[in-house]
């Protein structure tokens, strides 16, 4: 036979059996005849011939197969047998499941926890990290980040570019539409209460970039976005509902923004747009007059045709050009870097690490659950082996037996999946209540979406195969002869089965150790964070932000207003102290450069945090004065300028005593800058968060400047701080009925939310570890007691021959020890290598922290030995005479 014909025969298997059998010889002869057709005799005819043949085969075979399936559905009679068999298998599996409720419940529960937990975390990861936006085609939506190596190697995206830099790359070929926006807050009044809205000030139309259209009205026109265009605004759906009661007449009406009228031209659809902003207005100024180094814009762009790599290549070229041209003027351009990244990745970067660690952890739990159920099934299969052998001996087909077993595991998995998905749906529904607002706003609709469901079902099928495979393989290899003979009767399930079950337990123990280690490391790191001396007392302090519109308050009127507010607040019952400051720990946002008198201002001027505050700030936060005098009423605008510095500043920049009386010049270098005198040193606070080292910080009295119109009020309460909010608000409105407060929080609350990724990982991984520990203990117990049950005869003989109880316990426990130590060793290795994934969440603790590893080992050994000891005790109570009769 020619190779061609042989190949064609092989390919013919694509056809359904009946068709193939009916036409086999004719197909072959047609195939052979077609070969000699004249059009295949030409050059390249062979390839053409095979192409024709393959197309013909594929088309007709798939049509035949489809016909077969349709026929099977339409005329079930023809496939009656298959359906019958399937129903029979199902009934059989169902009976097996029902007959052993305890076993089935354990299996279903394990799988429900595994599948449910995985689906829950996947749902969160999917909603928050993978698909956080309702934007169309989000993969092509990128943001441009910038890194200036002279300042920091970190790539930053939010409020990092100047208009000039934006125009440098705006017309790049890789970018389609682009936008740049400055984030700010604007007071909006008119209506019930004045409100401060998170606002994006736009250089170009952002809605085209993110791909959304106004639900009401329209987007911006080009002339509205041009410098000094007409005052217009677009508002979010949320604000439209809450502030304007969904009034459809809002479009075309004027609202007051920062005291000035602007016409509303559109309302956006619900959902999060541009970092949670609620108000969109043109930037208004002339961007070409902005200096290159005033960088406060965030840039978004849609990739056009090309991919991210091309865009980044183009950006690198632009950065190089700008470096060449402007390095002399702006030294920070030396080696600067522009890079585009998907916007979704930028926004969710802080959650990403935690999300993927959790995802890994929950998959571990699922693996453990699978190992456990597989183990239980294996035990069952060993018990049923004689049944199986009997049926095989009576002529049952192996695949029938295997199918029955697989149906059972599928049934268990499906029940587990149903429970798990219910669990996940419930947990996802209530999850937003447990997540901080800033996280929830990223993913307005976390739910059991189709993707999550598909993921859960895929897990179900995989786990069904994983847990069913082993018993099936066992059944396949069962030899009727051995199992029906007497040696089969008392055997302990066969050496291979025991080995396999032990391997399962080793894997389970190893995974549990890894999870426990993760939980332990997170707990330790969390304790470290909690134990950190913050340098201030965060309890019972209410904070809120207050921004005075420039249009209304200028110069000394600003501080007058703040002082009046503070005075009124201090008079409230329940208020201990009140103060105002531009920032408070842990939010170290404002920085400045400076020089110290008498020090050569080297190449790069040093940087420090700078906080503008009222004198009572240190008292309100409980920050200790370490030397010098506190600010007081003397320090006015007309008095000599003074500052206070923290210890970190004194140590790093003033270096040697005396610190008091030294002079600084604050801000970028300018000849007319006044010198200011250090009058005090205060204790360090964790001004960059509990987990970061203390940054140098200087404090300047509010009264000695008139620029700062945006402050945080800090109110220390005698009791419940949040309860003061309505009172405080009333006092502010009494002074100015158009003045809102926002960013309301407590000091403790803001510290907590900074630790959210750590906290949530700790709680969830702790939970997973607990589940894993229980599952592993159940596994060890199961294997040990099964071992004891099958060795009853052996133990009986040993005891009849004079073995004492201790020897029997040792015999059983030794087995447990071997399994446990293997699992422990593997688990520790796994934990140390997987620990690297955790490192971003750990503070002051390494993944190889010996104390954690030791205590995890101790816990696991204790639990494992307890699980092994119980069956051993049972073994000791075996009555030798009964055991010898045991069959």
């Amino acid at each position: 036979m020619s190779a061609r014909l042989w190949l064609y025969r092989l390919l013919m298997h694509a056809y359904p059996g009946p068709f193939r059998r009916r036409f086999e010889s004719e197909l072959e002869s047609a195939f052979l005849a077609a070969q000699s057709e004249p059009r295949y005799a030409r050059r390249g005819g062979g390839a053409l011939f095979w192409a024709d043949t393959l197309v013909d085969l594929c088309v007709s075979a798939s049509r035949q197969r489809t016909r077969q399936v349709i026929a099977a559905i339409r005329y079930p009679r023809s496939s009656r047998n298959k359906v019958d068999t399937m129903l029979h298998d199902l009934r059989h599996a169902f009976r097996l499941v029902i007959r052993q409720p305890a076993f089935s419940a354990a299996a279903v529960l394990s799988l429900a926890l595994g599948i449910g937990g995985s689906s829950l975390i996947y749902g969160l990861v999917d909603g928050l990290v993978l698909h956080p936006f309702p934007y169309p085609d989000p993969d092509r939506l990128v943001s441009v980040g910038v890194a200036f190596p002279r300042q920091s190697s970190e790539l930053r995206f939010i409020e990092t570019l100047s208009p000039a830099e934006y125009f440098d790359f705006k017309r790049m070929r890789s970018f389609g539409v682009t936008t740049a926006f400055d984030l700010g807050n604007r007071n909006v009044s008119g209506g019930d209460e004045p409100e401060r809205l998170f606002t994006a000030l736009l250089l170009d139309d952002p809605f085209e970039v993110i791909g959304m259209r106004a639900t009401l009205g329209r987007g911006f026109l080009a002339e509205e976005l041009a410098p000094n265009g007409p005052p217009v605004a677009i508002i979010s759906h949320r604000i439209w509902q809450s502030r304007f009661a969904g009034d459809r007449q809002i479009v075309g009406r004027a609202i007051r923004i920062g005291g000035q009228a602007a016409t509303v031209v559109g309302v956006m659809p619900p959902g999060l747009l541009l970092l949670g902003t609620d108000l969109w207005i043109p930037w208004g100024g002339d961007p070409s007059r902005m200096p290159r180094n005033v960088r406060q814009f965030t840039v978004l762009a849609r990739l056009e045709g090309s991919g991210l790599a091309e865009a980044n290549a183009e950006l690198a070229a632009v950065a190089g050009r700008v470096d060449q041209e402007f390095r002399g003027q702006f030294r920070e351009y030396e080696g600067w870097r522009l890079e585009a990244r998907p916007w979704a990745a930028v926004v969710t970067a802080s959650l990403r690490d935690a999300a993927f660690v959790l995802f890994g952890a929950v998959l571990f739990v699922l693996l453990i659950a699978c190992a456990n159920v597989g183990n239980l099934l294996l035990a069952r299969a060993a018990a049923h082996q004689r049944d199986v052998a009997m049926r095989l001996a009576l002529g049952a087909a192996r695949w029938r037996v295997a199918r029955e077993l697989l149906t059972e595991s599928l049934l268990l998995s499906l029940a587990g999946a149903a429970g798990g998905l219910l669990l996940a749906a419930g947990a996802l529904a209530i999850a937003p209540q447990f997540l901080p607002q800033r996280v929830v706003s990223l993913a307005p609709d976390i739910s059991l979406s189709g993707r999550v469901l598909a993921f859960g079902l895929a897990l179900t099928v995989i786990s069904a195969v994983v847990i069913g495979l082993v018993p099936v393989l066992r059944a396949w290899r069962t030899s009727p002869r051995v199992w029906l003979s007497t040696e089969g009767r008392s055997a302990t399930g066969g050496r291979a089965v025991v080995r396999l079950r032990q391997a399962f337990i080793v894997a389970e123990v190893a995974l549990a150790v890894a999870l426990l280690t993760g939980a332990g490391l997170l707990a330790r790191s969390f304790m470290r964070i909690q134990a950190v001396d913050l340098g201030f007392d965060p309890s019972n302090v209410l904070t809120m932000r207050l921004t005075l519109p420039r249009e209304k308050y200028q110069g000394e009127a600003i501080n007058q207003f703040f002082n009046a507010v503070l005075e009124r607040i201090r008079a409230l019952p329940g208020v201990e102290r009140a103060s105002a400051a531009s920032q408070y720990p842990p939010m170290g946002a404002f920085e400045t450069s400076f020089e110290v008198e008498g020090e050569e201002p080297g190449e790069a001027r040093p940087n420090t945090l700078i906080t503008v505050m009222t004198p009572d700030y240190f008292g309100t936060l409980g920050v200790a004065l370490k030397g010098g005098r506190a600010f007081d009423a003397r320090d006015t605008l007309r008095a000599p300028l003074v500052v206070s510095v923290n210890e970190a500043f004194a140590d790093r920049y003033l270096r040697n005593e005396p610190f008091i009386g030294r002079r600084l010049r604050i801000g970028p270098p300018r000849p007319d800058r006044p010198w200011v005198e250090v009058v005090s040193v205060v204790a360090d606070t964790r001004n960059r968060g509990a987990t970061a080292p203390v940054a140098p910080e200087i404090f300047i009295p509010m009264e000695q400047q008139v620029m700062w119109n945006q402050v945080f009020l800090m109110v220390r309460a005698r009791g419940d701080a949040p309860a003061l909010l309505p009172l405080v608000r009333r006092e502010i409105l009494a002074l100015d009925s158009e003045q809102p407060v926002y960013a309301i929080n407590t000091l403790e609350g803001s510290l907590q939310s900074a630790l959210f990724p750590q906290r949530v990982s700790l709680v969830l991984i702790g939970l997973f570890a607990a589940v894993a520990l229980v599952l592993a203990a159940v596994g060890v117990y199961g294997v040990m007691s099964y071992g004891v049950a099958t060795r009853t005869r052996e133990i009986g003989i040993r005891m009849a021959l004079g073995a004492d109880a201790g020897a029997v316990v040792r015999l059983v426990v030794r087995q447990a020890i071997v399994v446990l130590s293997l699992g422990l060793a593997l688990g520790l290795a796994l934990a140390v290598s997987a620990g690297r994934a955790l490192s971003t969440l750990l503070v002051d603790v390494t993944a190889r922290d010996p104390a954690t590893l030791a205590s995890v080992s101790a816990v696991l050994a204790a639990v494992g030995l307890a699980a092994g000891y119980l069956p051993a005790r049972r073994a000791v109570r075996v009555d030798p005479s009964a055991a010898l009769r045991h069959d």
């Binding site: 056809y15 068709f19 009916r22 036409f23 010889s25 004719e26 197909l27 002869s29 047609a30 195939f31 005849a33 077609a34 024709d52 043949t53 197309v55 013909d56 085969l57 088309v59 007709s60 075979a61 049509r63 035949q64």
Partner: protein
């Protein structure tokens, strides 16, 4: 294919050649497509296997039109004829381009 069988019994491959000849190569039937069509015509009762005349022809089964197949062919041809006549009447150039 029915037309190809109208002049007498044919085996499968001959049907294919006849179809290609009549359509000037516009319709080419691969082996799979050919026998699929044969199977369907057979199922619909339009053609049947001709009883093999000799042992030699066992290898290559011949097919012939059934009574129903011939009737269907006649109806179809008549329908095409009517359409063609009508088309000629309203737009002669379309059917027989000169």
């Amino acid at each position: 294919m029915l037309l190809a069988l109208s002049s007498g019994d044919q085996h499968g491959y001959a049907i294919k050649q006849e179809v290609e000849r009549v359509t000037g190569g516009d319709i080419r039937l691969g082996p799979g497509t050919l026998y699929e069509a044969i199977q369907r015509l057979e199922e619909d009762g339009l053609i049947e296997e001709a009883s093999p005349a000799s042992a030699d022809q066992q290898q290559r089964r011949s097919y012939r039109l059934t009574f129903a197949g011939r009737a269907v062919l006649r109806v179809e041809l008549r329908r095409y004829g009517a359409v063609l006549t009508h088309a000629r009447a309203i737009s002669p150039g379309l059917v027989d381009p000169s």
